[in-house]
Structures are given as C-alpha cells and as structure tokens.
Subunit: 542 residues, 2 copies
Amino acid sequence: MTESDLPVAELTPGRWGDPSQVVELPAAALDALKHLGIKRPGAAGAPAGVGGGAPGAETPRAAEGPGASAPAGAADRPELTGPQLAFLASVVGSEHVTSDLGSRWAHTRGYSTTDLLRFRAGDASDMPDAVVYPASHDEVAALLAGCAEHDLAVVPYSGGTSVVGGLAPTGRFITVDLRRLDQLVDLDEISRTATLQAGLRGPAAEHLLAERGYTLGHFPQSYEGASIGGYAAARSSGQSSAGYGRFDQMVVGLTLATPRGTIELGRAPMSAAGPDLRQLILGSEGAFGIITSVVVRIRPRPTERHFEGWRFESFDAGLTAVRRLAQDGPLPTVLRLSDEIETAVNLADPDVLGGGSGGVLAIIGFDGPYNQATADVLTAAGGENLGEGPGETWRTGRYRAPYLRDPLLDEGALVETLETAAFWSRIPALKTAVTEALVDALSATPPLVLCHISHVYETGASLYFTVICAQSDDPVEQWLTAKYAANHAIADAGGTITHHHGVGTDHRTAYHAEIGSLAVEALQAVKHTLDPDGVLNPGILI
Amino acid sequence: MTESDLPVAELTPGRWGDPSQVVELPAAALDALKHLGIKRPGAAGAPAGVGGGAPGAETPRAAEGPGASAPAGAADRPELTGPQLAFLASVVGSEHVTSDLGSRWAHTRGYSTTDLLRFRAGDASDMPDAVVYPASHDEVAALLAGCAEHDLAVVPYSGGTSVVGGLAPTGRFITVDLRRLDQLVDLDEISRTATLQAGLRGPAAEHLLAERGYTLGHFPQSYEGASIGGYAAARSSGQSSAGYGRFDQMVVGLTLATPRGTIELGRAPMSAAGPDLRQLILGSEGAFGIITSVVVRIRPRPTERHFEGWRFESFDAGLTAVRRLAQDGPLPTVLRLSDEIETAVNLADPDVLGGGSGGVLAIIGFDGPYNQATADVLTAAGGENLGEGPGETWRTGRYRAPYLRDPLLDEGALVETLETAAFWSRIPALKTAVTEALVDALSATPPLVLCHISHVYETGASLYFTVICAQSDDPVEQWLTAKYAANHAIADAGGTITHHHGVGTDHRTAYHAEIGSLAVEALQAVKHTLDPDGVLNPGILI
C-alpha cells in the first residue's frame, strides 16, 4: 500500500486519527510505563488528573458527527444572531452553515496534548459559534469581506491537525471549513505543476495525482488528516523531505483570499521581481488571509521504493554520517536518525541492531532505484546495513505514532512532542540543552526524552523530541511548565522555535523573541493592510 | 584562472568593467553591424544621436576617480548644508564623507544602456550630493537613524552594477557606499556557512573563501564589480545556478539596518516559525533597509572543472533536453542553451557546430568530476557533443559580453538585454511573444534579437534576450519604447517581469501589475513600518 491508497482520516475531536483504527499499546510498552511510575488513573496511588478515566468510563472526547452530544459547557456561548446566520447563508447557502453542538465540537482546537487534555476535561470554552463550508475561492473571499460588518471573527480550518495551540477569539467567531475546496484544478505535465485546492486532504491529493501518474511527495505524520491549505499555512515538512523538500519549497504559486480582496502570486519558479511574497504568505497561519489554492511542483510516481535500517555506534556517529549525506550527497528520499533512547524505546526487539549491543537506528528510503552511492557513504561513516526489515517496519508504521498517544494518555502517561532546527554546529549542544531542560522541568515525574533527526539541509537539521512521563495532578500545567523550559533552552542554544509544527499560540512569545520586535511590527503592518478589522485568526502568530 | 583569482573591477561611471581591460570588437562583429544598417555616429547618413561621438571626440563618460572632472550640469544641484555634513562626519568620520564631483559622478546610476546613454549625454541630474563610506553595521544604522532629521534621502551602493534603472530622489540625498564592509566575519566549517559583509565584491569574497578551501559558487555576469549586498538586495542568480542555486537560495541568515533599528534573521536553514522573512528582505532593493551582512551556504572548492559544448538541431530540441535535465537530472553546474540567432552571432567560426549546418549551441559545465549521466541524457535527447573547445571558449569569455556594449554604442549600435522566467509550458510562446514585440517596436531600425536559457528549475526556466539594432536620433526613447513593448509581451505571456536583474525603476509599473495592488499595499506597509520617513531609496520598488 502506498500513500495514495490510504483513506483520508475523518478525525474525531480529542482523539487522533481514523476512529476505525483501534490502536492498542504493545505489552512491552505497558511494561515500560511501569518503570516510569505511570499508573492508570483510578488505580491506587494514581493522580486524580484527567488521564482518560477508568476503563469503560465515559470520556467526553468524541462527537460522532453533527448532532452528537457535546459537553454542557458549550452551551454557555451566545448563539449567532439572525442577521449573522443570514449573512453566512447568503454566501454559502443555508445548508452549508451548521451551528449544532456536534459540528462545533468537532471543529474545536487541534491535536496538541494540552488540546486533548482539555477535551478530556470537557473544556468547550473555545468552541466556534458556527461552522461554514464554502465551495469556492469566491465564497471564501465573500465571507471574509463581510465578516467585519457582521462582527464575526474567522478561524480557517482545513485539516484541523495543528499541534501548537489553537486560539480562542473572545467574541463570536465562525470556523471556515475548506473541505469542499477539494479539486485538482489543473495539472501541467510539461511544467510538472499541479493546482490543488486548499481543502484537499493528503491522501485525497495523492490519489488525484496518482491517477495521472504523479506524486507530490509530501508525507508529514499528520498526512491522513492534514490538508493542502494547512501544509501551506504552517510551512509543513514531510518525512520524505530529504528527497522532495519542504512544502514551502514545493509551492510555486498560491491564491490568497483576504478581507480586502485576492492576492495571486507565482508567475515563475523563481523571480527577482521584489521580495518572494509567496514566502510571506506561506507560514502566515491564517493571519493574513485564507489560502484557497496552491500551485505545487509534482514529480512522476516512483515505480519502486526501498527502505532500509542502518545501525551506528552512537547518535554522534550517526550525526556525522547524515551530515555527510546532506552536504555532499547523494541524499536518499527519507533520512532519519534516532538517538539511543528513541532507538531503545521504539525497538521492541533489540536484536534488530545486531545482538543488543546498543547503538542507534537510522532509516533511509528511496523513491526510485536503490542508490548504492548513498549506502557507501553510510558504510564509510561507520554504519552497518541492517537490511530492509527495519526499513519496512518504519514505513508501514510511519503514521501510527500519533495514534499511540491516546491510549498512553488513557494509561496515565503524559506524552507530547516538540521540535526545532539549527545549523549543524549547534545541533549537539541544542539536543543536550533541550533534553536537560525537559528532564529538569519534569523532575517530579522523571521523563523519558527521545530524539531524532528527520529533516536535513546542507547547513543544518531538525531535532524532534518526544517526552513521556507520568501525569501529575494537573497535566496541562505540568506540560506548559516543561514546554516553557524547552522553549527557553531552544532559544538560548540558537535553534528556531519550530521547524515544521508552526507557531500557533504555543510558540508566539518565543517567535516574537526570535524575529525581534521590529520584524513583528512589519508583520503586524501586513496584517493590518490585508485584515484591517482583525477578523482573521485573532491572536495567532502576531 | 578561476573566479577567485580575478581582480575586483573598479568600475568607472558610464562604461562597464575594469578600465584596464581594453575591449575591441572583432572584425566579424563590425561587419555584422553593417548588415543591420548601423553606422558610426558622424558618418554620412548616421543619426545625430549620442552614440559615442566621432572617433577622438571627448565623451563625458568616465571620471578617473575622486576629483576628476564631471559635467557642468552636476553643479546645478544644491550643496549639502553644514549641519548635514557635520551629521555625516559625526557618524563615519569626515575623511569618509566626500562631496567632490568626481566621487559623486562615479556613484551616479547603474549600467543599463539608458544609464550609459545618459552618461554620454552628460546628464548629471541624478548625481548624489555626497558619498558616505561607513565601516560597520552600527555606522550604517546610525546613518539611517539620523537621515530623516537631517532631511537626507539615502541610496545604498555596494557594487553599483544595477541594469534596471536607478532613481533620482527629488530632494537632497547621499549615497552610502558599503565598500569598507568587506570582511569575512565568520566561517563555520561544520555547518558550511560563511558570514560575509555586504560590501565585499564577488572576486574578493571568493578569494577570502578560497583561502579556506571554500567557494560560494555565485558567478553572475556582473561578478567582477557586483557585491554581496547587491546580490542579496536584488535576488541575483549566477551562471552556475544549476549547481549552486540562486543567491536567495544560498542565504540562510541576514542582518538589516533600518531607520528604526536592526533586524536579524536566520536561526536555522529552514523554519516553520512564521513567514520566511529572509525572503521578504531579499529582493527589497534597499527600500526596507540596508543589508549589512549575510550568512551564506558555502561548499568546498572543486578540484576540477569541465566545460563542454553541445549542438542541438534547434532551440526546441535543446529546450526539451535541458528540461529533461532540470526535471529528472542529473544537472550539471552550468547549463545554457542559445537559440539559433544567438548561436550564429556568438560563433565567429560556424564550423564549431560541426560543419555549418545550423543548429544551436548548449554549454554544460561541472564543478567537480565530469558526470557521464548528464551527457547521456543530452545524447538521448539528440545532442551532439562538441567537446571542450566551445566550453572553454565560453568559460574564459563569460564576463566579456558586457564589455562589448560600450564599443558597440561607440559604433552607433543600440544594444541592451532583458530577461524573464516562466513555467516550462509557457516558455516557447513567451520567447516568441517577446521577440515579436521587440522586432515590432524597433521596426524602423530592424533589430537582431538573441535569446538564451541560463537558469533552469524543475518547473520552469529563464529567458535572456539581447537586442542589437541601429541607434535612432533619440536612442533613450527608442529603447524605452522597445522595453515597454517587451514588458507587456512578458506579462501577457505569463512570465515574470524579471528573473534576476531586479525591479529598479524600469520594472516598477510592470512589477505592480504582476503582484497586484493589494500586495503592493502590503509592501508599502512594511516600508512605512521600517522607514516611516521614506528615507531609503525613494521611488525604488514601491
């Protein structure tokens, strides 16, 4: 099965992924939790937190669809007025405006762990007041043009898979769900470009391209649920970034609807006609407008793929090897390097590493023929080829990790991820600093901190951390404290506050420190020009 | 001789390149001019234009350095006041402020053909009122912070090699010449990055990097005179872009001085922390601030290089071949394809093409080992390998073409270049449309229109046109009319108004049409935030 065969995951609120996929923790994982002092809530000695309730307990997490029950707190928000609803219906048709609790609950927040914990606690304070489903760029533009007059803020929603904090506009607001913008508008085989609408979810976009023999090659871990518009708005980067690049490197054109009109960018792959404004819109996270379509570079579908595991003596040894590939090539399509702890946690069977002598696991993947020259570089750098077994294990499980978070939360574990990037020379100290900051901040519930590299560039790389520990009595506060410490460690060690998750609300303060107050003012000036009434995603980014 | 051995060209106003290099037109070229009806000014039947004057006539083009004579018209501008001069001296020291005519004349305009023609006509209307030479970022920042109070506009100047029109602030203005910012500040061998100050000219930067074993790999045709700051401000692209990328792709960090303070960007190669603001500053052409240094990706110096000529039956056949390399690889470092007319004009010896049977010439170059796989793609696409001869001829003459313009002007020819880029599917029609527009607009003096492709991407390519015809009585107006027609043809055929020359004043109207009024407003908002008094490069870009 390739990516284009995967179904779109219709996410349910408060629990990751396709609900038809039951994920159970392996026995080894349950054992490991005991070693971290993690106890299922309700068990003797477990905290009274919101860890999911005892087995069989009702948790207020998932609405089954529009009309399903939602927490009582949701009703506290005022209903939209008749004129507001009439305006929305006049643009998209009344059948495409919903204000039932189920729909609103299903469009609340994203999928950070604190988002999930607040779902579990029944917190509906940031539920939208209505969900609107436009079918075209013009409908999106008309909504944005009229919302100020109708005193409505707008939260764009395409995949809903953010993990960096949603927002809670203080006034009435609607969510604009882009799922009806789901067309492959154009495919130019000579230029190898495709025009994709923003509401296309990852698998749907790949499926449409596959029918024509092409692939986008963008496979973030959120692939099953995330969308083209979300990739663009948040500068996404996928697991095949070594071969296909980041999403912002794939975009050669885009169309943005703003409250003041439309901006269309991209007459050529590259230009010297002023600043590259595409890169000003990409990453603007809905603060400047709603991206309704993008023109992306596509490539022929590979006819073969190869995934392989490699063992290195240590993370440092592996780091040197992947840097060599990033700087002198030839790069594979997928290149990942786990550190010692992540390797140990992820490998149920340590014999994979050739006898349990420790070391770290790297994964390489090729879309297309196997490239022996890549393997030769790894061998020269001290790598040991473990063959296709670990590679295929990784490939087939690549979208599973986020599914594990919910049962881990059920078991009383706090589990969350964070990520950064830096130039190569800073990577070792950055990794140490972030790990120590997390361990220090969570010393009351000693954590495991796992780390891997999954995106490389000539001048640097990303670092992706996973944290697992026992939940305290107040796990939201527990995580926010740890996250605060990690953010400071990242800044002090010279990393960027996010490599591919985005800014959202979780990183806003750190983001402002990173770019400086004058750059923030410049962004605010752009925002004020395109969205003078502050209708769009208030509080996000800037 | 490699690029790092070349001397910096101390440009003289109104005539391209190192004045110690005497360039004479080959006899074949002089013959060709006759076929275009081009006559040396002063000859019987030649127009009375400003084509360089009769042999031996004094042309008011080149000041020999500070203190040299300059056209009388220059004295019409008011002198700076005592307080203005005192302010400038207080920041940089009085020895680094010059207001003699020679220095000011030497910092007037750039090197477009209309710039040169206006030099030849003695037009000094846009001469700066003083030239200031800061030595550090802090001095640049202090200048910018104080200029509004002292009623001075600022024109940044690093290499002075613009070919898209300078500006003429209506009030008093100074030129800030960055040549004293000429340091390699840092070189990080692990990350393969170098911090270069903005005033470093191309050969000086390469020389400093070569001493450490590295290269930037950025070799635009203006290489001898252009500077790091200019590359950044104008989104330059060099002749080795197929291998090294554009300059904006090399920049991973930058420091910008603005009237309101400093912006520093770039904690990592790539980030999801909001829009990529580096790409908002790159290409801003001095309208937002002065880039004082950049952090660039560097690579090890190649130990071998190979250049080769290839023949294709037609431009269309060559186009398919270079597109195949751009989309499926492996790309060489240099990839150029001339059309039939450029091939014929540039080849004094048509036997190079293997018997004078027509066809077009492509050049490929490798920094590093020869890649047979690249050659195999060209062969499969119908290419015929002409060997190293034509490749070496191109390599050794690669910076000579602009030198030929001045003697061509002397001979009464109008010669100028323009360029664009588009997606592959639009390239053939774009080429035809621009050529026809130029031929139509210059029908009174039938032109030769040469074209080549020298920058390729997966989704598209650049087109570079050279136009040669007889000068009319008013060659400035003659060219502006042709340029206007070409600009419209580019827009109508879906190209960008400039691939690597920049916007300047020549492309401002077309640029605004390309990005739209709302995007222009957004840029103006950024400008107003960073430069509220409009001190910087008034009239440029936006």
